[in-house]
Amino acid sequence: MAVDAGGAYLRIDHVSKSFGAFQALKDISLEINSGEFVCFLGPSGCGKTTLLRAIAGLDIQTTGRIFQGGRDISALPPAKRDFGIVFQSYALFPNLSVAENVAYGLVSTNRPKAEIDARVAELVALVGLGGQEPKYPSQLSGGQQQRVALARALAMSPGLLLLDEPLSALDARVRQHLRGELKDLQRKLKVTTIMVTHDQEEALAIADRIVVMNQGVIEQVGTPLEVYRHPKTAFVADFVGQMNFLPVERVAADRVRFGAIEFTTSGADPAARPGVQSMLCVRPEDIQIRNVAAGQGNTLKVKIDHMEFLGSFCRAELIVDGGRHLKADFSINAMRDLALQPGQDLTIALPVDRLRLFQAESHV
């Protein structure tokens, strides 16, 4: 067992998976710590579910190794691994009651009936379904079904909890509510958890760390704040949150030119070499309109094209000289104070520390 002394609970080591000529996973390496809540985030077809199924042993990787708790599980069938799983469809047994579903794995362990009953009651209470034991899955709402699936997955006290888009079949309100509960439950049980999702908002809200994937590779691993604030690639910048892209030319280490205007930037993609077409990124909420001084750097004259009222803030579509569009989020306060109207001319500032620069080709 000395092979894996790194302390990570789950270690994925150069894992690749091919389906015929198609490479679904390309040399993935990743470590997940004990008790961590990790989200695999990416668009459909990015390989996140494939990686989850490889960890579960449902579709074993072509090459590369996976260690769980120091044990090499690379080639083991699912039954010999230690995990609980919740699928998008929940895969609840329709002909068994809630209690029977939750007890399904426990019954095979030959424990005394009283012990099983007690455990089932405990689990059902844990997911907040006390009193629903005799019901069948079809008599429950989607959210309740999801909880039953969760209780069933936790019944055997697995070392690893795998969640394959567990919330995506629910409507928005239930989804938001349940993700909070899911996070609380995970924190209480301290079970190492991997959740696959394509919903970046969900990943940001729930994960300790996010693994952003695209086309079979990991684009970035980091805390929600890191991923949001400091996207490593143009893909991550675009996929997580809202982002504006301005085509610019790099003229110096920290200077770019957009038309006739020059900007100072901070974080830059090393691939974006001087003289090469690059993409300057700024989030709509980082665009500054208050207190923009006349001689200040990084300013831009724009015209408001139209505004979209989104409740707590307003998203404005701005037109830069030359016809480029920029999205900017303005607080209701700012709107009122500056009396913003469509058609109005504005001077905006792009804060240096909020600008990111990526090579143009890498923008997906």
Partner: protein, 580 residues
């Protein structure tokens, strides 16, 4: 965890990468369960080889051998085509099959259209009546036609001097026999229609004829082709109807029987058998290809078609449907009358004497109990094999190539006419030196043969049901460390119970009514009721043959009734978890 499994871990992978070599492929370890599954799949493969592949192979070999088992190439085929009497049967078979198919499809289309696209009255009853022929052995319409149009027939005058014995009788009998098969396919094809296409056509002011030609007909064209193929194959290969009413008008199916049973000319029997097989295989292939397209026609977002009342049209189709249903009931009713009338048509006094099989010296009721015993065994064993087999091909892990090969083999029986399968069984199981020959002349061979004969439809039913079961049940039970067979028994079987019951009833009814395959395989102590009916008719006792046919119809109907009762009770009991 053994050390051996750990050995090529981390360090090795890290060492290999820089040198540019391929990293080692992970070979998934198989658990004990995987081995049980693989064993079961292999067993299923062996089962198919013994019950289907080898018999058909033997048949093929037989057709290119002479009596002393020397290879003579296509000489048998050359001899066949040189014999004008034999080639005449080939022409005859095509003639009745084509005409029969055209009539059946025309009538079944009208009927299916009436059922699905109009608001005519009595749709429920009319649908049930149309399926009645499925309960009868195919010789029954032949017998009824003798009473209706035979030498003493009440409607003989309608034939204007033509004989019922021959093509006319065969075609009418086959239309009765094949009608429900075509209807089922066409009803399905006509049921899947998008309401919005019709609304669009209406809003563009298309005339009803134009709507029919541009929307309705193209929408069910695959169903029409599919139905035509199925009906053609049924008629082309049917034995019961031409045996009873064909007279001197020979067709391929009766030729096989005569060559083998009458003249012991096995080689020529094999040649004719293959001639029967080829069109069946071709139409089967066409059918499979177009059915795949039919499925894709209806998108998930389509709005299902709901007919709205059109009084004139509805009335017209009610009359048409009643006429067709009347024809079906007339045939069945005549067979029934024939069995309870003392002496048709001279002494129309009801009697039960034709049902007194013991007194008539026609093996008594023994064949009936043989039929019951065989049908029950086919239903029980067949359902178990089919469902387990479908589960293995659908749900197991690994051995992908083998599994899709098995799925393909399971399709083959549908393309093999019963008479060909029966012949293949004689050649294979009766061959000297075959250790499996000990089942020859036993009930076992009848059961094995009948399961094989009706395998495909059951397999497809099971696969369809299994596909609707959540694909992750097996993954969930593996993660919960629950053995797969427990989940199979505790979840998969209960969830698929309606399909399982459908399969067993289908097998039972077909085992009761089948004639074509088993006619080569029965022994004196395993004679079946359907075969007894043919022999009895051959011996000139048409009334008793009718009685036997009616006993089969009633038995099938009772079982169907029991089945629907059971389904209804099951539905009530499981309603709690089945409602969506």
């Amino acid at each position: 965890m053994s050390d051996a499994a750990l050995a090529p871990a981390g360090p090795l992978a890290a060492d290999i990468r820089p040198s540019g070599n391929q990293p080692p492929r992970i070979r998934p370890q198989a658990g004990a369960e995987d081995w049980v599954m693989r064993g079961a799949i292999a067993l299923l493969g062996v089962y198919f080889i013994i019950t289907l592949v080898l018999p058909l192979y033997t048949l093929l070999i037989k057709s290119v051998e002479d009596k002393d088992k020397n290879f003579i190439g296509v000489a048998n085929f050359a001899r066949y085509f040189a014999d004008p009497a034999l080639t005449q049967s080939l022409i005859n078979t095509f003639t009745v099959s084509i005409i029969g198919t055209v009539i059946t499809i025309f009538l079944a289309f009208l009927y299916a259209y009436a059922l699905t696209r109009t608001c005519m009255a009595m749709r429920g009853i009319l649908r049930a009546v149309a399926l009645v022929p499925l309960l009868a052995p195919s010789l029954l319409p032949g017998l009824a036609l003798i009473y209706l149009f035979g030498n003493q027939g009440i409607f003989k005058g309608l034939l204007m001097g033509h004989e019922i014995y021959g093509p006319i009788g065969i075609i009418i009998g086959e239309v009765f026999f094949a009608f429900p098969h075509a209807l089922i396919i066409l009803v399905t094809a006509l049921s899947v229609a998008d309401q919005r296409l019709y609304e669009a056509a209406d809003s563009l002011r298309a005339s009803p004829t134009r709507v029919f030609m541009t929307v309705t007909l193209p929408g069910c064209r695959y169903g029409l082709i599919s139905a035509a193929m199925v009906v053609f194959t049924l008629i082309f290969t049917d034995f019961g109807v031409p045996k009873v009413i064909g007279g001197s008008y020979n067709v391929l199916a009766t030729d096989v029987y005569r060559q083998v049973i009458g003249q012991f000319n096995f080689q020529m029997g094999a040649v004719v058998g293959l001639l029967l097989l080829f069109p069946a295989v071709i139409s089967f292939t066409v059918d499979r290809l177009v059915q795949r397209k039919q499925v894709a026609l209806l998108s998930a977002r389509a709005v299902p078609y709901r007919p709205s009342p059109r009084p004139k049209t509805d009335r017209f189709f009610l009359i048409v449907a009643c006429l067709i249903a009347g024809f079906l009931l007339l045939i069945l009713g005549m067979a029934f009358l024939g069995s309870i009338i003392t002496f048709w048509p001279y002494k129309l006094v009801p009697t039960l004497k034709w049902y007194d099989f013991t007194r008539l010296g026609t093996d008594g009721w023994g064949p009936y109990f043989n039929s019951l015993r065989m049908a029950a065994m086919v239903a029980l064993i067949g359902t178990a094999i089919v469902f387990t087999g479908a589960y293995l091909t659908e749900k197991s892990r690994g051995a992908k190539g083998l599994r899709s090969a098995l799925h393909l083999i399971a399709m083959v029986p549908l393309a093999v006419p019963g008479i060909v399968l029966g012949l293949a069984y004689i050649f294979f199981f009766n061959a000297p030196g075959n250790p499996l020959g000990l089942i020859y002349n036993t009930m076992t061979i009848l059961v094995v043969n009948t399961i094989c004969h009706f395998y495909t439809v059951c397999h497809l039913t099971a696969v369809t049901a299994l596909k609707q079961v959540d694909a992750e049940f097996e993954a969930v039970s593996a993660s919960l460390k629950v053995p797969l067979f427990r989940t199979f028994w505790r979840v998969t079987v209960p969830v698929c119970l309606p399909a399982i019951l459908d399969i067993s009833v289908y097998l039972f009814v077909n085992a009761m009514t089948t004639v074509s395959a088993v006619i080569f395989l029965y022994a004196s102590d395993t004679k079946l009721m359907s075969i007894n009916a043919i022999n009895t008719d051959d011996a000139g006792n048409t009334a008793s043959a009718c009685a036997m046919g009616m006993v089969i119809v009633v038995t099938s109907a009772v079982l169907k009734g029991l089945h629907s009762l059971l389904v209804r009770r099951l539905h009530k009991r499981t309603q709690a978890w089945r409602q969506r």
